[in-house]
Symmetry: C2
Subunit: 344 residues, 2 copies
C-alpha cells in the first residue's frame, strides 16, 4: 500500500476521503510501484524504472497552483486543479530534459470535505495517468486556524529522470537560434491574484459567471479554470525529431523572468508581436484591467505556454512535428527579453 495518510482532527472524514480516492490513485500505478510494502512511504522500483540507463539523473520539483484554488473554490469545481498541479510539475522537469516517474501531492484545507478532497485527488490522478506518472503518496491536512474558511491549498512534488547527456538546456544555445512557442490554454497556474482583482473590480455583479463576448460563450470562471496544458507529448516528439537545445516553461514572471533562466549568460531573446494567438482570457484581462504590455507579459504567459529553442535549420522539421507550434522569435547576442515588431 502506498502512503495516503490524513492529518488533522476529523479522522472519520479523512478515512472516507481515503476510500473515495483509492481507486483513482491505484489507476496510476505501473509495475514500478511496489504495493503492499507498508504505509509510511511510497515505494518505487528504481532498478526497474532506470534499467538500461547509463547515467540517470533524478530531477525533482515542488510547486503549488497558487490562488487558482480560490477560483476553483468560488465555482465549487474541484476536479481540475489537480491536473493543473501535475501538468505544471511535468512541464517544469521537461525543461531539464526529464520524463516523469512519480508524484506526491499535499492538500491542506480549513475543514475536510471528503467529496471535495476526493475530487481534487481524482484530478491529480487523472493528470498522472495521462502522463504515465505514478501517484505514490500524498498528505491531506486539516488545519482550521491556518486556512481561511472555504480556502484550500494544493502543492505537489514530482520526481523524474533524464540521461545525464540528454539534460537541458544544452550549452550550445547561440544567438540566432529559433524560438518556437507551444500554445497555452489560458493562464495555466500564474497570474491568478491579478486576475481575481480585475474580476472583482470590473465584473462586480456577475463575477466569474460573466460572459464577455470575447470569450465566445464561456464564462470568465470557465476560462480561468482552463487546465494547465501538459507539453510532454509534443516535447517528446520534438526531441525525437529535432535537436532541441532548450525548453522554457512560462510560469510566474512570464517570458521576462523565465527565458533568462535557460539562456547562456549575456544572451537574450527577441519575441515578435503577432506571431501567435493570445488566449481570449489574457486579452480580456489586459483590456479590462488596463495592463501595459510590460505588466501583461510579466504576470501572464500570454499564450506562450512552452518555448522551444532549436537551430534555425531545424525549424521546418519542428513545425511539421508539432503543428500547433509557432516560430515566435530568436535568441539574441544581448541580454534582456524584448517584444519587437515584425521586421524590427
Amino acid at each position: 500500500m502506498t502512503q495516503y495518510r490524513a492529518a488533522g482532527v476529523d479522522i472519520a472524514a479523512a478515512t472516507r476521503a481515503k476510500e473515495l480516492m483509492t481507486a483513482a490513485v491505484r489507476s496510476t500505478h505501473g509495475p514500478a510501484v511496489l504495493a503492499g510494502m507498508g504505509a509510511f512511504g511510497g515505494c518505487f522500483d528504481a532498478a526497474l524504472a532506470l534499467a538500461g540507463m547509463q547515467a540517470p539523473v533524478l530531477v525533482s520539483s515542488t510547486d503549488g497552483v497558487g490562488t487558482k484554488t480560490l477560483v476553483a473554490a468560488a465555482l465549487g469545481r474541484y476536479d481540475t486543479v489537480g491536473q493543473d498541479l501535475v501538468n505544471h510539475a511535468i512541464n517544469d522537469i521537461l525543461v531539464q530534459g526529464a520524463r516523469p516517474l512519480f508524484f506526491l501531492d499535499y492538500i491542506a484545507v480549513a475543514k475536510l470535505d471528503p467529496v471535495q478532497v476526493a475530487a481534487i485527488v481524482g484530478g491529480v490522478a487523472a493528470g498522472c495517468r495521462a502522463a504515465g506518472c505514478a501517484l505514490i503518496g500524498g498528505e491531506t491536512a486539516e488545519m482550521p486556524d491556518v486556512y481561511a474558511p472555504g480556502a484550500f491549498d494544493l502543492a505537489g512534488t514530482i520526481v523524474g529522470v533524464v540521461e545525464r547527456d540528454a539534460m537541458l538546456p544544452r550549452a550550445d544555445v547561440a544567438p540566432g537560434d529559433a524560438i518556437l512557442a507551444l500554445p497555452s490554454t489560458g493562464l495555466h497556474t500564474n497570474g491568478y491574484s491579478l486576475a481575481r482583482r480585475i474580476v472583482a473590480h470590473h465584473f462586480a455583479a456577475e463575477g466569474y459567471h460573466a460572459r464577455p463576448a470575447i470569450l465566445g460563450g464561456q464564462t470568465i470562471g470557465e476560462a480561468l479554470l482552463a487546465i494547465h496544458r501538459c507539453y510532454l507529448p509534443e516535447v517528446t516528439a520534438l526531441r525525437a525529431a529535432a535537436p532541441v537545445k532548450a525548453l522554457c516553461h512560462i510560469t510566474g514572471g512570464g517570458i521576462y523572468d523565465n527565458l533568462p533562466r535557460v539562456l547562456p549568460a549575456g544572451m537574450g531573446a527577441a519575441i515578435v508581436r503577432g506571431r501567435w494567438d493570445i488566449p481570449p482570457i489574457c486579452q480580456l484581462l489586459v483590456e479590462v484591467g488596463g495592463l501595459s504590455e510590460q505588466e501583461a507579459y510579466h504576470a501572464l504567459n500570454m499564450g506562450l505556454g512552452m518555448l522551444v529553442i532549436v537551430p534555425v535549420e531545424a525549424v521546418a522539421t519542428a513545425l511539421a512535428t508539432a503543428p500547433e507550434a509557432r516560430l515566435v522569435g530568436h535568441v539574441t547576442a544581448t541580454p534582456a527579453v524584448r517584444l519587437v515588431d515584425e521586421g524590427e
Copy 2:
C-alpha cells in the same frame, strides 16, 4: 543552481528571502547534487548515489508539520519547525528501511517576510545537513486570501533509497517479538490542535509563556516547540547490530493507529505501562486537559517516538546498542494495540 522559486506578489521580498537562504541550502549539497544545471528542477545524480546497489527502491513521503506552525508563529520562533519537518520525513521512510537522499520543501504564507522564510528554510537545511540529506528544491508561495493573517504552512517531500531485500517491515514479525521504544522529545508534530485548545482554555492568562512546575523551568511554548527527534543514527546502529524486523514511527493516531500499519494482519501489541518515561509536556496535557488514557495515546506519542521490533534473543544487543531504548512490550497473536499493567 537548484530550483528555489517564489510564487506570489512581492517579487522583491521573494528575491531577498532567496538570497538569505542560499548559503543554508548549499550547505546540504554533496557530490550527487548537480549544480548549474538550470533552475526549474533540482538535479540529483542517481548513478552516483545508487552506485553499488543491487535492487534500489526509492521511498518517498510528503508530509507537513500541522498546526505546530501556529505555536511557532505565536512565539515568533521560526528556526525549529523546518527541523521538525525534515526529521518527521526521515523517520517515516526509516520505517520502510530507507535512508534519505534528498528533500524539497513547500512554504506558504499570507504575507512573505524574507527573514521569517529564511529562518524556516534555515531549519529545513539544518535538519537535512545533520542527516546527510540534500535540500535540492522548494517553493515559497505568498497567498494572502488563502491563509489566515500571520499563519503559515510548511510541508515537504523526502526521497530515500533502500535495497529491496532490506525493506521493512519484514514478513517474519511474529507473536512474542519484543517491542523497544526510542524516546520522543515531546509532541513531535502531532497533537497540536488538541494542545492549543488545552493551553487556550487552562492557561488563558499566560498562554505559551506559563511555566508549570512539571516542566522544570521551561515554558509551555518551549516544551511544545521541542524539535521532532530524528532516529536515523539510532536506527542505523540498531539495524547494523540486531535483526530489526519492523520499525514504527508514532505520529497522528498514536500507537493505536500506527502499530497496526507495520504488523502482519491479525497481530497486535501489548505495551506495558510504566516501562518508559512520559515527557512532562505530555503529562501536563493529560492532567490539565483531563484526557483519558485512550484519548492521550490516540492524540499523542506519549514518549514512544519510534518503536523497534526485534526477536526476543536480540533485545540485549539492541539495548546495548541504543542505550536510550526501553523494552516496552511485545507483539501479540490477537489484533488490537493494548496498554497493559506489568505482569498482566
